[in-house]
C-alpha cells in the first residue's frame, strides 16, 4: 500500500485556492500511484479562522468535497474542513473519501482552547472515537490535539485499528532546542504510541504562516515498531510518498503482544470506579 502525505500551505479562508492546491496534489499523487492521500487538518480552509469559521462551514456532501473525491479516482483521500452539521453545530472534521464517496467522518474531540489556541470558542466537540474498515484494513483518524490524549489512540487500537491517520496543524514555538519543541514532542508521541499500540501512524502536518504563527510541516510515517520510516522537511510544501507494509502490524504484535495482554475489563472497571468517585456516586 502506497500512502501520500500532502504537506500543503492552505490560504486562510480561501476554499477556492485551497481546492486548487488539493487538485494539484491529487494529480501528483495519482502519477505516483498513491493509494491513499492524506491532507492536513482544515486543509480546505486554513487554521485560525476565528469568525471565518461560520463562513467556511460546509456540508460533507458539498460540491467542493464531492469534486475532489471524484478527482481522486481510485485513490482514497482524507481532507480537513469545517463541518456544518444538520443541527447547525460546526465541527473541525476530517473526511475519509473512497471511490468518490464519503466513507467515514471524524469530528475532532479535543479542541485546544488555551495558549495560542481558541478552537472551543468556535466549534463543537466530537463525541466519537472509532475505527472503521477500509479496503486496506481497519483504520482510525485523530485530528491533531486528539492525539495528545492517551485515551484516543488507545481506544482506536482497542477498536481494531491497524493504522491511525493524524491530520494536524502543529505550529512551531521555542527555538532554543535542537528541534522545534512541538516537533520533538510530536515525533516522540508518534514513536511511543506506534510502539505501544502496534499500529502505523500517519502524521500529515501543514506548512505556512498565519499572522506570524508558523506551521512547520515535518509530516511523517511511523511504523508499528515505533520507527520513523520517512519524514518530510520543515517549512516547505511536500508530497511524502511511502510504501507501507501492513504485515509489520502483525510482526510487531507477535513480537510484543501488548494488545493481546491488555486487560480491557480491568480498565473499564477502574474507569467506571473513577467516574463514580469523581461524581460522588456510590462507594469506592
Amino acid at each position: 500500500m502506497r500512502v501520500g502525505l500532502a504537506q500543503i500551505r492552505p490560504h486562510l479562508g480561501r476554499v477556492d485556492i485551497n481546492v486548487e492546491l488539493h487538485r494539484e496534489m491529487i494529480h501528483r499523487a495519482r502519477e505516483e500511484q498513491v493509494d491513499l492521500l492524506i491532507f492536513p487538518e482544515l486543509s480546505l480552509t486554513g487554521y485560525n479562522l476565528l469568525d471565518l469559521t461560520y463562513e467556511m462551514a460546509m456540508d460533507p456532501f458539498s460540491p467542493e468535497i464531492q469534486r475532489l473525491a471524484q478527482e481522486a479516482g481510485e485513490m482514497d483521500l482524507v481532507i480537513g474542513f469545517i463541518e456544518h452539521s444538520p443541527e447547525h453545530i460546526l465541527y473541525n472534521s476530517a473526511a475519509y473519501l473512497t471511490a468518490g464517496n464519503l466513507h467515514y467522518l471524524h469530528r475532532k474531540v479535543y479542541l485546544p482552547t488555551y495558549g495560542m489556541f481558541d478552537e472551543g470558542r468556535y466549534v463543537g466537540q466530537g463525541q466519537v472515537i472509532r475505527s472503521f474498515p477500509t479496503r486496506f484494513g481497519q483504520f482510525g483518524m485523530l485530528i491533531c490535539e486528539d492525539f495528545w490524549h492517551l485515551s484516543a489512540p488507545y481506544l482506536l487500537a482497542q477498536d481494531g485499528a491497524h493504522l491511525i491517520i493524524v491530520p494536524s496543524n502543529s505550529p512551531g514555538q521555542d527555538l532554543t532546542g535542537p528541534e522545534l519543541r512541538a516537533q520533538e514532542s510530536w515525533y516522540s508521541l508518534l514513536k511511543n504510541y506506534a510502539l505501544l499500540s502496534g499500529t502505523y501512524l500517519l502524521f500529515a502536518n501543514r506548512v505556512g504562516t498565519e499572522d506570524g504563527i508558523t506551521f512547520y510541516g515535518g509530516s511523517a510515517v511511523v511504523d508499528p515498531f515505533g520507527k520513523i520510516e520517512k519524514k518530510a522537511g520543515l517549512f516547505k510544501e511536500a508530497l511524502l510518498v511511502v510504501d507501507i507494509d501492513m504485515e509489520k502490524v502483525k510482526k510487531a504484535r507477535f513480537q510484543m503482544p501488548l494488545l493481546r495482554d491488555e486487560n480491557l475489563d480491568l480498565t473499564i472497571r477502574e474507569l467506571n470506579r473513577i467516574k463514580r468517585k469523581r461524581t460522588g456516586e456510590g462507594t469506592w
Binding site: 486562510l12 479562508g13 480561501r14 532554543t176 535542537p178 528541534e179 504562516t209 498565519e210 512547520y216
Partner: protein, 283 residues
C-alpha cells in the same frame, strides 16, 4: 563573539538554535510579505543592532535588490550611528536613502522651544515613521519592524513611532537573542558591541536610562513572563525586589503601547471584540 558567548553560558535558556531561528524567521517573513502582495520591504536603519538584524534577515528573505534601507538622522544624532548604518548597508549591498529630519523637527519645535527631550524624541520617532510609510508607498515595499521583545515588554519605544510596522521579525527575540543572531548573521561587529542607544541626545544609552542592563532584564523577563515565576521564586533566583518591581511596573504601565486603541462598544459586532479575523484573512 566572546561577550555573547559568556552571556549565553550564564543564561543557556536564552540560547537560540541559530540555524532554525533564521530559517523560520526568513521563511515566515517572506510568506507574510508575499501574500500581502509585496515583493519588497523597507527598513529604517538607525545604526543600532535591532534594525541591523531586521535588515540582515530581510536580505536573507528577499535578496538585497528587494530591500531598501532608510537612514533618518537628526542634527544631534551621533555621526557614528550614520557610519554604523553605512557598514550594514555595505555589508548587505542594499539600496539606501538618507533623509535628514532636522528641518521639519526644528520647524515644529520653534513653536515649543521649552519642549522636553522626551517630546522631541517621540516626535522624531513619529517623523521617521511617517517617512517610512510614505516611502513604503513610493517603493511598493512593506515596512519591516525593528523592535525586540525586551523593549516591547518594557514599553521602551514610541507608540506609533519606532513601534509601528507591517511585520516585525524580531519582536519575539530578547535583546540577548538579537545579539546572538546578529553575530550568527555577520552583522558588523561594531554594531553588536557598542552600547545600545536611542541616540536622542549625546551620550544617551538605553541601559543608563532604564537603570539596568539588557542582559539582566532579559533573564528576569524570561523567568517572569516565559516561566511565570512567582515573586518568591524570582527572589530565590537572586533578583532584587526593587528590580523586579520596576520591571513589572513598566510592563503593566505600557500595556497600552501593545494594543490597538480602545473602542467603546455600542454595537453587536465590535471590531477587535466580537468581530474577529486574522490580518491574513483571505491571503
Amino acid at each position: 563573539m566572546q561577550m555573547i558567548e559568556e552571556m549565553l553560558e550564564q543564561a543557556p535558556y536564552l540560547r537560540l538554535n541559530e540555524e532554525l531561528a533564521t530559517t523560520l524567521l526568513t521563511t515566515a517573513l517572506r510568506e507574510e510579505v508575499n501574500k500581502a502582495g509585496f515583493n519588497k520591504v523597507i527598513i529604517g536603519l538607525s545604526g543600532g543592532i535591532d534594525s541591523a538584524l531586521s535588515l540582515y534577515l530581510a536580505v536573507k528573505a528577499f535578496g538585497p535588490e528587494n530591500v531598501v534601507a532608510v537612514r533618518m538622522p537628526y542634527k544631534t544624532s551621533s555621526p557614528a550611528s550614520l557610519e554604523d548604518a553605512q557598514a550594514a548597508i555595505d555589508g548587505t549591498g542594499v539600496e539606501s536613502i538618507t533623509i535628514d529630519i532636522t528641518p521639519q523637527i526644528d520647524a515644529y519645535f520653534e513653536q515649543f522651544p521649552e519642549a522636553t527631550p522626551l517630546r522631541r524624541g517621540n516626535k522624531m520617532a513619529r517623523e521617521r515613521m511617517t517617512i517610512l510609510y510614505d516611502l513604503s508607498a513610493a517603493y511598493d515595499a512593506l515596512v519591516v519592524g525593528t523592535s525586540n521583545r525586551t523593549e516591547i515588554l518594557l514599553g521602551y519605544g514610541t507608540q506609533y513611532g519606532d513601534t509601528a510596522s507591517a511585520i516585525n521579525p524580531i519582536g519575539d527575540l530578547y535583546k540577548t537573542q538579537v545579539r546572538q543572531l546578529s553575530a550568527y548573521l555577520n552583522v558588523p561587529e561594531q554594531i553588536i558591541t557598542k552600547a545600545p542607544s536611542a541616540d536622542l541626545w549625546e551620550a544617551q544609552t538605553d541601559e543608563s536610562e532604564l537603570g539596568f542592563s539588557y542582559f539582566d532584564v532579559d533573564r528576569l523577563l524570561y523567568f517572569m513572563i516565559d516561566q511565570r515565576y512567582t515573586l518568591d521564586q524570582l527572589r530565590a533566583l537572586g533578583f532584587e525586589d526593587d528590580f523586579i518591581e520596576r520591571v513589572s511596573k513598566r510592563i503593566i504601565r505600557n500595556q497600552y503601547k501593545r494594543t490597538m486603541p480602545i473602542i467603546l462598544k455600542t454595537g453587536t459586532r465590535t471590531v477587535g471584540m466580537d468581530f474577529r479575523y486574522l490580518r491574513d484573512w483571505g491571503l
